[in-house]
């Protein structure tokens, strides 16, 4: 059976010949019509449509967007801020980059509709520092939209106005965590805030109610206004609605981005048919389904899941639909949509050493378990690769990881311990054997990973 077709909604014009990132091109393609439609609607009605649509956040946590908007404190009398999380930095994720560089007005229209719906007068786009061109493109696009009365005071002849400014990060992964991002936007070190009491919806930017949404999520809002919440909810699968962009990297023939209805394509179809299967002469060994902090899946393992009627079904890795709920039921997550594939040339100790180096570098250092734990996990896996490895290192790694998750202010604690926990749980044999295998001849094509 051939793999299902892509459904390009957000990426409709990405890499399309002749499509440019200026306002004229966007308007030629029907741009800003949905903002016009939105300002003729009651703000509460738009929030209702987003709730009906069942849109879940595309940044990593998959939290329902309408619910997030519903939590905003609207009685405080303080201004409400909208902060766009464009700090795309979860390893394996590369979707927002294309939206901002090639179709910035789609994002701006999504921002303005969401701002109108939530009575936001000031929005900030927090773009990661390593995208200087992206920041310039967005600034240019905002200026164009302002000149055309889509952004700024009294938009489209209404009494409503909202300004958008671009704010650049400076190379810290933790700024993708929403309260860390808010601290950074306030000009400080991005130390995440403790919740409660600092829920952004109540005490966010400048201690005012704040909505933090991912770039892709805000783009979806435009399409929800276009088709209506009920129609949007029919795309995808129940509780996993709409489309999402799957970013595939690593050992496949055709890496890249693919937009599918959520849950309508399986991991097997995605990797074997859409991405052309493994590299010549190789076999798939493992896949991380939702950015590098998601727990790894080992090809060959199976998952026993309960059906609604109480019966059970058994899924292989290839059978898993690429949605939020089934991936969670399989013990991992859809996360940010970053699918990282590893074939049988990869030694899992070395792959984990690479990931651990990332998290040790990126821990903000605020909470002791994470600061020390991420560093120790890095030290252990680096020692295993470059110095002496011991058969008991896997157990040692697990004991460190088990003391981090749940003991930190933010979810980085989980993000940094899940790779170690899942690698050791699923490839424990490889960790035990590593003292012997590390000196054996490497498979041809094997590369240094750390």
């Amino acid at each position: 059976m051939p793999a299902p077709q892509q459904r390009r909604i957000i990426f409709k014009h990405i890499d399309e010949a002749g499509y440019t990132n200026d306002l004229a091109c966007y308007v030629r393609h029907g741009g800003y019509e949905m903002l016009k439609k939105a300002v003729a609607m009651q703000p509460a009605a738009i929030i209702d449509e987003v709730k009906k649509a069942g849109l879940r956040g595309r940044g990593g946590a998959g939290f329902p967007c309408g619910v997030k908007w519903g939590l905003v404190d609207r009685k405080s009398g303080k201004p409400i801020y909208l902060v766009v999380n464009a700090d795309e930095s979860e390893p394996g994720t590369f979707k927002d980059r294309y939206i901002m560089h090639q179709d910035p007005h789609q994002l701006i229209e999504g921002i303005m509709i969401s701002a109108w719906a939530n009575n936001v007068k000031q929005a900030y786009i927090y773009i990661r520092g390593e995208m200087p061109h992206g920041a310039r493109i967005l600034e240019q696009a905002i200026a164009e939209a302002r000149a055309a009365n889509f952004v700024g005071p009294n938009i489209l002849g209404t009494a409503y106005g909202c300004e958008i400014y671009v704010h650049r990060g400076a190379g810290a992964y933790i700024c993708g965590e929403e309260t860390g991002l808010i601290e950074s936007l306030e000009g400080k070190r991005p130390y995440p805030r403790i919740k409660p009491p600092y829920f952004p919806a109540v005490l966010g930017l400048y201690q005012c109610p704040t909505i933090v949404n991912n770039v892709e999520t805000l783009c979806h809002v435009k399409h929800i206004v276009e088709m209506g919440g009920d129609a949007y909810a029919k795309i995808g699968t129940p509780n996993n609605t709409g489309t999402r962009i799957l970013c595939v990297s690593g050992h496949v023939q055709k890496p890249g981005y693919y937009e599918y209805e959520v849950g309508k394509i399986t991991m097997g179809e995605l990797l074997n048919e859409v991405c052309g299967g493994p590299l010549p002469g190789r076999k798939f060994k493992a896949v991380i389904p939702g950015g590098s902090s998601a727990k790894i899946l080992r090809f060959g393992e199976t998952f026993k899941l309960k059906n609604k009627d109480g019966t059970e079904r058994v899924l292989t890795v290839e059978d898993i639909p690429m949605d939020f709920d089934t991936l969670a039921a399989c013990g991992t997550m859809g996360g940010s949509g970053g699918v990282i594939v590893m074939d049988d040339s990869v030694n899992m100790v070395e792959a984990l050493a690479n990931i651990n180096a990332f998290y040790a570098h990126e821990s903000c250092g605020q909470c002791t378990p994470c600061r020390e734990g991420s560093l120790w996990m890095k030290k252990i896996t680096t020692r295993m690769v470059h110095d002496k490895a011991r058969a008991e290192d896997g157990a040692l790694l697990k004991s460190v990881a088990d003391q981090i998750a749940g003991r930190t202010i933010c979810a980085f604690g989980e993000a940094c311990s899940w790779p170690t926990q899942s690698f050791v749980a699923k490839f424990g044999d490889e960790f035990k054997a590593y003292p012997e295998t590390k000196n054996a001849a490497k498979p041809p094509g094997a590369l240094d990973l750390v």
């Binding site: 394996g92 400014y165 936007l185 070190r189 970013c247 590098s292 990332f358 990973l449």
Partner: protein, 162 residues
């Protein structure tokens, strides 16, 4: 500290973007680093004064965020992605190629002053791994051959300047 008039204009403009001046710290530091090439010690006092902060409030930002540097670097900044997707496609070999081409080590200024090579974490372009940023520009699928080609371009530009 002698900032270009254009930089000063950008700085005064960007401060107006925030209801609280302190928010502009990162944007001011970016503007200064683009102008001067790094964050000199006097910039910390200058930014603090400009935004009505204590110098420590600026210093703690400079020392936390990896993109800010307190020392000059080579004329061109080569940032090779180190993270998993790029490493799986040969990122370490790419980095080694640049190091050999410029006879230098990561984190150092090359002997001819032309480049500083660094490993950085995920650049969010994993589908076209391995990726490299040279100054503001992203280069995709940089295998050893392409790394050599990019190195040659930098060397040629340097030769023309001399």
């Amino acid at each position: 500290m002698n900032l270009k008039p254009e930089t000063l204009r950008r700085i005064d403009d960007v401060i107006t973007h925030y209801p609280v001046k302190r928010s502009a710290v990162l944007m001011l530091l970016h503007a200064i680093q683009e102008d001067v090439g790094y964050i000199p010690p006097e910039a910390i006092d200058w930014v603090a004064q400009k935004l009505e902060l204590q110098p420590i409030n600026v210093y703690e930002v400079v020392t936390f965020y990896p993109m800010f540097r307190q020392k000059p670097i080579g004329r061109r900044h080569i940032k090779v992605c180190r993270t998993l997707s790029c490493a799986l496609m040969g990122g370490y070999k790419t980095c080694a190629t640049f190091e050999e081409e410029f006879k230098t080590h990561r984190g150092e200024v090359s002997p001819d002053g032309e480049v500083t090579i660094e490993f950085v974490e995920c650049l969010a372009s994993c589908g076209t791994a391995p990726v490299v940023m040279i100054d503001d520009d992203l280069h995709e699928k940089v295998d050893c051959a392409k790394a050599k080609q990019l190195s040659d371009q930098i060397k040629q530009a340097a030769a023309q300047r001399r």
